[in-house]
Chain length 203, copies 4
C-alpha cells in the first residue's frame, strides 16, 4: 500500500534548480536530461531497493523514491560536507523511504539490503571496487547505471561490467538548451556530453 | 489505492524493441533517451490525467501509466492502421488505466477529462490547433511536452506556447549509442537530434 | 604568381587564441572547428574574390587569404570599436591581399568587385538584405556560407537562399573538446552548436 | 613557383559524393565536416610534405595537395583492392604532387621524405607503431592528426602522443545535416561522432 508520504504529492521531474548545491561544486549536479535517462535505465519497480552511490544533492534518490514508492532508497555519500545539503534536499523533495548512508562505498554498503537498482553518480577513485561489490549483491534482473564524464573511466566501467557478464550498454547524451536572446530569438547552449553505462543481469 | 494491474509488475524504462512497430515506419518510435527526457518533463503525478497525442506504438502511454498509476492515460491515434499494434503493445505492457482514443486531434479530445500532462509525439499538420486546444483544457500546474524533428515546427511550437503565456523551454537531445565491433572495441552511433519543447503553466 | 607575403609563411589552421579579441565579446570568435567547416564550404580557389562580412577578429579572412593567395579578400566590419583589433590580427596573420572595408553591409559592399565566395559570420539585423545583395553580385559557381547560432535566422537564411534558387545545405556542428583533469584523465567540454548554411549557385 | 596542375583549377572543399567509393565500404569515407577539421589541424604550408596514412578514397590527399601545392603528398594505402579507386579519384581531383604508396605502414613509410604533416585516417591494428614511427620522423613544428571512431583507440592515440611529448588535443565532432521533407520543412540527420586527436611538436 502506498503511504501518502510528503514527497509523493509532487510530480516526477524536478528542475535542476530545485536542489541546493554546494557553492564551489555548483554545476556538478546531474543535469536533468541525464538524470531522466539514468532514472529510465535503472529498471525501477514500485518495490525496488535502490542504492544511489555518490548521492550528492540527492536528485536521483528523490526521483527514484517516487517510482519505487513501496521500496527503499539508500542515498550513499562519503563527503561529510555535503550531508547537510543532501538532508535539506531530501526533506524538501524526498519521502520516508529514503535513507542517508554516510560513508565510503563499497565498505559502507555491506549493511544494506541487496539492491535491485544501483546508480553510481560519480566516477571517483573506487569505481572498480564499487561496481564489483554492487554486482556481487545485485538481485536477479537488477540494473546498474553509471554516469561518467571521463573517457577512461567510461571504458573501464563498460569493460568491467561486460566481464562480469552483464548485458551492458553505453550511451553518450549531449543536450543543448534553448536560450532566449534580447529580441526573443532562441539560440542553443550545449551541456557537456555525459556517458551513461547501463548494465542488466539475468536476461 | 493502487490496483495490481498487469503492467505494474514490470519496471519503468522499456527498451525500444519492446514495442512492435509498423514495418514501413520502423525506426519512427520515440527513442528511449528522448522518451526518458519527455516523460521526465511531463510533470507526472500518481493521479495525473494524461493525453498522449499521436500515441503511435504506445511507448509513452505505457510508461506514463506506470507513474500515473492512480490516474488515467488517453492514447490518441488517428491512423487506423496503427491501432492494432497500439492495442497489442498496450495489452502487453500497459495497465487498465490506459484508454485508446481513435480519431483526429484536436476534435477527438473534446470528450476527454481535462489533462494534467499532454504529450504530443508527432509533428503532424494540426500542431497549432492541437496545442491551442490542449492549452485551453490544461489543468493549473499542468505540462505540455512536444517532440519535434523539424526546425520550423520546433519554433512554431515554442513561440505559440510562449504566446499562450506558458513557461516554455527548448532542449535538443542528441544521443549516440555504443556499438561493439568484432574485436570488442566500442564506437559511437548517433541517433538523430530531437527537439523537446516543454511548457508549464501556473508558476 | 605567388608573392611571398608575410602571412604566407605560416601554416593553415590557426588556433582560437591566435586572435586578439575584444574583452566583453571574448568567446564570440568563430570556433576553430566551425571556422574549418565554413572555410571548407566556401569553394575557395587560388584566385577567388572573397567577401568576409562581419569579419570580427579577422580569423576567416586570414585563412581564406592563405588559400585564395592570388585572389582578394575583403574583411567587412561595421563596428568601429573592433577595427583596431581586426587591423592588429590582419597585420600579424594576414597577407597583402586582405583589405579592411569599414562600414555597414550591404551598403558598403557596392564598391567591391563581384565575389566568388561570401562568408557571413554574424547574424545581425541585416541578414536578409545582405544575402539578397550578395546573391545578386555572386559570380557563377560561387558560394555563400553563413554561421548562425539562432534557430529563427538559420531558417530564414536557408529559405531565402533556396528561394533565390541556390543549392542550399544546412549543417549543425557540435564539438566537444577534451579537457585534462588533475590525474591526466580526459573529459569532454561542449562548444555550443552552430548552424552552417552553405549555398552554391550554378550547378 | 606554383605549377598550374590540373587539380589546382578546382576549389577547396569537395563534397563527399565527389569520391568514388568501394561498394561494401560505402559510407566509410571521412565525412566532409570531419575532413575539414582534420585538414585544418594538419598545419599545412604551401611546401609541406604530407603523409596520408590509410588514404582510402584519397579525399584528404587531394585537399591537402591543394594547400601544399609546392609540397609533396604521399597517399599510403595497404588495401590493394582500394588502389584502383584511389587512383581514379586522384586522377580526377588530384595534382601531380600526390604520390600513391602501396603497402602497409609503418614499414612502407621508410622510403618517404620526413613529413611536416601526418594524417592517419583509419584506426587499424598498427596504430601505436604508426604513431611512434611518424613521431620519430616528423619535422620540427610538424603535426599529426588522427581520426578515430573507437573510444579505446582514441585514448590510446591521445596518451601515446602525450607520452611522446606532443602538445596533444582531442576534439569530438558531431554533425547533423538538414534533410528536406516532402513539404520543404527541414529536419536534422546525425552523422556519427568522430574523435580527432591532433598533436603538434615544438612549441
Amino acid at each position: 500500500m502506498v503511504k501518502d508520504l510528503p514527497g509523493l504529492g509532487r510530480s516526477f521531474g524536478l528542475p535542476d534548480d530545485a536542489f541546493e548545491q554546494r557553492r564551489p561544486d555548483k554545476g556538478q549536479i546531474t543535469k536533468r536530461e541525464v538524470r531522466a535517462v539514468s532514472l529510465y535505465s535503472l529498471g525501477l519497480r514500485q518495490d525496488s531497493v535502490v542504492w544511489d552511490i555518490g548521492a550528492g544533492t540527492g536528485s536521483v534518490s528523490v526521483e527514484a523514491a517516487l517510482i519505487a514508492n513501496r521500496g527503499q532508497v539508500y542515498a550513499v555519500e562519503r563527503d561529510t560536507d555535503s550531508l547537510p545539503l543532501l538532508e535539506a534536499n531530501l526533506s524538501r523533495w524526498g519521502s520516508e523511504n529514503i535513507h542517508i548512508v554516510a560513508g565510503e562505498a563499497p565498505g559502507v554498503l555491506s549493511g544494506l539490503p541487496d539492491p535491485d537498482s544501483v546508480f553510481v553518480g560519480g566516477s571517483g577513485g573506487n569505481l572498480a571496487s564499487i561496481l564489483e561489490y554492487a554486482a556481487s549483491r545485485l538481485n536477479t534482473g537488477g540494473s546498474i547505471v553509471i554516469n561518467l564524464a571521463v573517457l577512461e573511466r567510461t571504458q573501464e566501467a563498460y569493460r568491467l561490467l561486460k566481464k562480469l557478464d552483464f548485458a551492458t550498454e553505453l550511451t553518450q547524451v549531449t543536450s543543448a538548451r534553448g536560450k532566449e536572446m534580447a529580441d526573443g530569438a532562441v539560440r542553443l547552449e550545449s551541456l557537456n556530453p555525459v556517458f551513461i553505462v547501463s548494465a542488466r543481469r539475468g536476461h
